[in-house]
Every structure is written in structure tokens, then in C-alpha cells.
């Protein structure tokens, strides 16, 4: 019997790793590709140098007024001078800590929902989430807590975009869950009402909902009731979101294996026990990426509020750009800044969403 001795592995004759090989395989693998690469590289380098110079090297950073912008570059003084307006709107300056507190509370609850021990996580975070919007409103409004009353006309800026989006999706959560149950129901009437509701709020342009909220909704309340404009918009956003989220949950229900339903039934659980104890936790888990995606959509849509005259961030930017003390043409700086703010928030959420999706995928495979 011959003994088998494996041949030694040799290094590859053509370099397949390292910088040179990478450049060859990814940028210069054919004449056409080399031309394309050089073409793109030329424009990229040309414009990024100009951009770098404009935005950083010859930009103005210090000062407080238009006069401090003397150079050719970007006038970041403009952003600095308006930054408080951009983030907090016209909220009374001495009371801004209340906005910060609200945002901190929101962040705290979000962090809790990822870090608490699993056995109490849902039991604590769901009530915390549901109470949060009302606590925040109490803090921001101030009357109930005996603080200075800040009228909603003064609320604005990026914090309004964030809090409005969060408050809407949170309150929409239980409603959308009920609508999605309704849509899955065996009862014909409940099912049809749910379908009509969901499809109405998904099919109508958001802007027309805002107009309904600001023009039609006051007509629906009994005479003499005066509901704050911001509250009306909030109600509209809740309805809008619950239509979209209902469909997200419906997808979640469908993603749960049939066996889970059968197992729950065979344990003799009642309908609500089955839904709340067995299905809800799983539905929330599998729907998480889509919930985040829907939230990003809602968050972007909060900019639409400016059309009915609510001073969220984009509206504040418009105000700043047309301010008579700042007519030096800071359009580009202003837009770049607001782009950056929204982009950073939306992009990080979409990264988080795809991270969760990948995690769910691996969980399912194991």
C-alpha cells in the first residue's frame, strides 16, 4: 500500500491579493473599464478638492453675524447663529431643557428596549413607550406640571420632527395591531371595515390628510371645541401611520410559522391569550426591520408639516434663508446642513434596520 502524501500548496502565479491585484480586478480589468475609472476619478478628485476647500479650508467658522463671513468659502457662522432655531424652534430659551429632557426620555426608553433582561423587556418597555408621548406633551406644554406654559405655536425645529414622528408611531402601534387583527379576522363585517380603513389611509396623499386635519377635522368636533392645530395634525399622523403599520403587522403575522398557531391552540389558550402571549412578541420581532423602515418614511414625511404652516426644520431653514440680516446667499450651506441632519438620522436607522434583518436571518437559520 502506497501512502498518500498531498502535494504542497503553491502560491498563485498571478497575484490574486494585495493592492495591485485589487486595482487590476476592480478598476482596470479592461480598456473600457480603465477609461470609465479614470473619467470618474478625474471628476471626483476635481470636485472633491473644490468642495473640500469651500467647506473646510476657506470657510468662516467664527463670529455671530453676516459681517463675519468675509472669505470665499462656506459661511458656517450662519448655521451656528441659527442652530438653536434649527433644533428647538422658537421655544422659550430658558425652558429648552424641557425639550432636551423629552428627547432624553425617548432615547432612554429606546435603549431600555434593547438592553433590559429579556424576561421583563416587553413588560416594561411597551407601557413605557405608550406613556411616553403623553409625558412628553405634559413636559413640553408645562401647565399640568406647574411649569411655564409654552404655546404650541412656539414649538418647532428638528426636535419637533423627531418628537412628532415618535409620538405618532407610538400611539399608532396598538391601533395598527388591532386593524391588522381585524383584517385577518373571520368576521366579514370587521374584516371589511378594517380593509377600508387601512386602504384609505394608505391610498390617500399625506398632504390631503394634513389638510383634512387642519380644515375638516375642526368641523367634526362638537361646536365650541377648540383642538390645538398640532394635536389635530398628530391625530392625522396617527391614523396615517396605523394604516401603514397595520400592513407591516399583517406581514409579521404571515411570517410566523403555522405551527406556532397550532401549538398555541393546542395549549388551550383563549384568543387574546394566544395573541398577546404567543404571537405579539414574535410579530414585533419579525416586523422590526419593516417598523423601522415605516418610521423612516414617517420621519421624512414630518417635513410636509411646513405646508400647513408648522415651523419644523425645513420651514425654519426657509425662514432663516429669507431673514433680512442674513441675505448673503447661504442657500447651499443651509441645505447642506439640513441634508446632513436628515440624512444622518435616516441612514443610521436604515443601517440599524438591515442589521436587525441580518440578525433575524441568522437566528432563523440556527
Amino acid at each position: 500500500m502506497r501512502e498518500f502524501k498531498p502535494l504542497p500548496a503553491q502560491p498563485a502565479p498571478v497575484k490574486t491579493q494585495g493592492a495591485v491585484a485589487w486595482l487590476r480586478d476592480n478598476l482596470f480589468y479592461s480598456p473600457v473599464s480603465s477609461i470609465v475609472t479614470l473619467f470618474f476619478a478625474y471628476f471626483f478628485i476635481k470636485y472633491s478638492i473644490a468642495m473640500f476647500d469651500w467647506a473646510l479650508l476657506s470657510a468662516d467658522w467664527t463670529g455671530t453675524t453676516e459681517k463675519d463671513c468675509t472669505s470665499e468659502g462656506a459661511c458656517w457662522v450662519f448655521i451656528k447663529a441659527w442652530s438653536q432655531q434649527f433644533f428647538y424652534g422658537s421655544y422659550i430659551e430658558s425652558e429648552i431643557w424641557r425639550i432636551n429632557l423629552s428627547i432624553l426620555l425617548l432615547l432612554a426608553v429606546i435603549v431600555m428596549s434593547f438592553t433590559l433582561p429579556k424576561n421583563i423587556r416587553l413588560k416594561v418597555t411597551i407601557p413605557a413607550f405608550l406613556l411616553l408621548p403623553f409625558i412628553c406633551i405634559a413636559i413640553l406644554d408645562g401647565r399640568i406640571l406647574g411649569l411655564t406654559h409654552v404655546k404650541t405655536d412656539l414649538w418647532g425645529g428638528f426636535s419637533l420632527n423627531v418628537l412628532m414622528a415618535a409620538a405618532s408611531i407610538i400611539v399608532a402601534f396598538p391601533f395598527s395591531f388591532l386593524w391588522s387583527l381585524g383584517r385577518r379576522s373571520d368576521m366579514a363585517f370587521i374584516r371589511s371595515v378594517s380593509i377600508i380603513f387601512i386602504e384609505f389611509f394608505r391610498g390617500v396623499p399625506v398632504l390631503s390628510l394634513f389638510f383634512m386635519g387642519s380644515v375638516m377635522l375642526p368641523l367634526f368636533f362638537a361646536e365650541g371645541t377648540n383642538v390645538d392645530k398640532l394635536i389635530r395634525v398628530w391625530i392625522v399622523l396617527i391614523f396615517f401611520m396605523s394604516g401603514y403599520m397595520a400592513e407591516v403587522f399583517r406581514g409579521g403575522f404571515q411570517a410566523i410559522p403555522r405551527g406556532q398557531y397550532e401549538a398555541a391552540d393546542s395549549l388551550g389558550l383563549g384568543y387574546w391569550q394566544k395573541i398577546l402571549l404567543i404571537l405579539l412578541p414574535q410579530v414585533i420581532k419579525v416586523s422590526m426591520p419593516n417598523i423601522l423602515a415605516t418610521f423612516v418614511m414617517l420621519f421624512k414625511n414630518t417635513t410636509f408639516l411646513l405646508i400647513i404652516g408648522i415651523p419644523e426644520l425645513v420651514q425654519t431653514l426657509q425662514t432663516a434663508l429669507s431673514n433680512s440680516y442674513w441675505l448673503g446667499g447661504h442657500t447651499l450651506e443651509g441645505y447642506l446642513f439640513v441634508f446632513a441632519v436628515f440624512w444622518a438620522s435616516c441612514f443610521s436607522m436604515s443601517l440599524l434596520s438591515s442589521h436587525i434583518e441580518r440578525k433575524l436571518d441568522t437566528d432563523n437559520r440556527n
Binding site: 500500500m1 502506497r2 501512502e3 498518500f4 498531498p6 502535494l7 500548496a9 503553491q10 502560491p11 498563485a12 502565479p13 498571478v14 490574486t16 491579493q17
Partner: protein
């Protein structure tokens, strides 16, 4: 040119010389030398990761290699679209996961190649297709879609699809390992029939040792990216030359 002449003198249809392949820095195929005569049936086996699939996938250029030469039916495999197309027309391949086109009917799966590659009239292509569907014993499924067939049926369709191109060589890449046990036999039967009646040149990566004993002229054992041993089926199974093959056979038989 010299390679082609040399090849024309004997009747080797595939000539693999000093073939080497790397994935990054990983040396997957080491100095492979293999000549296949026309009409010869070869079974290739070996542990997973031994490079057996990679080797037969080099033959129709589903994998590139970095060193060595490969001549198929007189055409040398070089970086030239014309050569690659010429070789692929002569080489049929059957995959582990069938790879039928799910958006086309069975009949359309079979006529796709003849119509678009061989430029045959549709009627003629369909007649050929039906002939081969009868060969693999499923003519009544012609108008169904792949998703409506069982695994065994799909693999038989995949074999028929390759046959429709009238290839000189058939490559089988683990054709039965994704099938349920009761379906393996129906596919193997079709392959045995094909071997015995058509005299087709076949290279088959498989662990079906009974199939190897029945049809193969030669059995090849690969490990670690090299050909460890090749022999007639009798010698291969009765008198393994190396300890490595003996170990392998003791594990699978």
C-alpha cells in the same frame, strides 16, 4: 496548434494538462492531468472540498483556471468568447440543484438552447425536445412549469435539456445528491440507459458507487485538489493503492 494536432492523432476528446487553480491564495486544483477518450465514462469521487466539482466546472468554463492547459474536442480553452462558446456548445452539464428555468415551461426549457444557440426552427426544436422527454419518460409533463414537478422529474428534465443540444460530452455535478432516496433510482436509470445506448462521453461527480461499478470505464479519486488515484472500477474498489482511498472507501461503503 501543436496541441490540437497531437490531440487529433489519438482520440482523446478532453486533454487536461498541469491544470492549476487558486481561489485567492487557496490552491484548489494542483497539477491536474487527465485525458478522456471519446465515449469514455468517468466517475469522479472524493471528500467534499477535494476540488472534484471545480475540476469539471473548469471544462465548460464555469470556473477559470490560472495555469495549465485544457483542450476540449480540439478547441483550446483560452480567454476568447468564441472559443468558450464553441466549447460550451459541445459540453452539456447537469447540476446538483437541477437549475431549470422556473419561468419557462418544460418544453421551453428544452427548446431554449436549440432555438437561440443552434438557430433551429421552433418545430424542429420541439420535435427533438419531445423525443428526449420520451427518453427520460416524462413526455406528458411538457407544458407544465418546473415548480410543478418532483425533484426526480426535474433532474430528468435537466438531463433532457442538455441532450437537446446534442453535446459530445456530458458533465454531471452530483446529479443525485439533492434528491430524495426514492427518486435517485429514476435518475440513475436514465443515466445508465444514456451511457449504454448512446455511448456518450460522460464525466460524473457522484458518490453512487453502484453506478460507478455498472457504467464507469474509469474511476477517479480526488483529495486536496489533486488526483490521488485512477483505475478501472474493479481495481479501484477491490485493490485501492493508497491508504487515503482505502480510508475513503471504508467510510462510504
Amino acid at each position: 496548434m501543436s496541441v490540437i494536432e497531437q490531440q487529433a492523432n489519438n482520440d482523446d476528446i478532453i486533454v487536461i494538462k498541469d491544470l492549476n487553480k487558486w481561489y485567492g491564495n487557496f490552491h484548489v486544483l494542483k497539477d491536474i492531468n487527465l485525458n478522456v477518450r471519446k465515449g469514455e465514462r468517468i466517475v469522479i469521487c472524493g471528500p467534499s472540498g477535494s476540488g472534484k466539482s471545480t475540476m469539471i466546472r473548469c471544462i465548460n468554463r464555469l470556473e477559470e483556471f490560472q495555469k495549465g492547459s485544457l483542450v476540449v474536442n480540439g478547441v483550446e480553452m483560452i480567454d476568447d468568447v468564441k472559443n468558450i462558446e464553441a466549447i460550451r456548445k459541445e459540453v452539456g452539464m447537469v447540476f446538483q440543484h437541477f437549475n431549470l428555468f422556473p419561468h419557462l415551461t418544460i418544453l421551453e426549457n428544452l427548446t431554449l438552447g436549440p432555438i437561440w444557440v443552434q438557430k433551429k426552427p421552433k418545430d424542429e426544436a420541439e420535435a427533438t425536445a419531445m423525443k428526449y422527454l420520451e427518453r427520460v419518460k416524462i413526455p406528458d409533463q411538457a407544458l407544465k412549469f418546473p415548480g410543478q414537478l418532483s425533484g426526480g422529474q426535474q433532474q430528468r428534465v435537466a438531463i433532457a435539456r442538455s441532450l437537446c443540444m446534442a453535446p459530445e460530452i456530458m458533465l454531471f455535478d452530483e446529479p443525485t445528491s439533492a434528491l430524495d432516496p426514492e427518486m435517485i433510482k429514476e435518475v440513475l436509470d436514465v443515466m445508465i440507459e444514456l451511457a449504454e445506448e448512446e455511448g456518450m462521453t460522460m464525466l460524473c461527480v457522484t458518490h453512487e458507487m453502484n453506478f460507478a461499478k455498472t457504467v464507469a470505464h474509469r474511476v477517479i479519486f480526488m483529495d486536496g485538489g489533486e488526483i490521488v488515484e485512477e483505475n478501472t472500477p474493479n481495481e479501484f474498489f477491490e485493490n485501492p493503492e493508497t491508504d487515503r482511498l482505502q480510508l475513503f472507501l471504508s467510510q462510504i461503503l
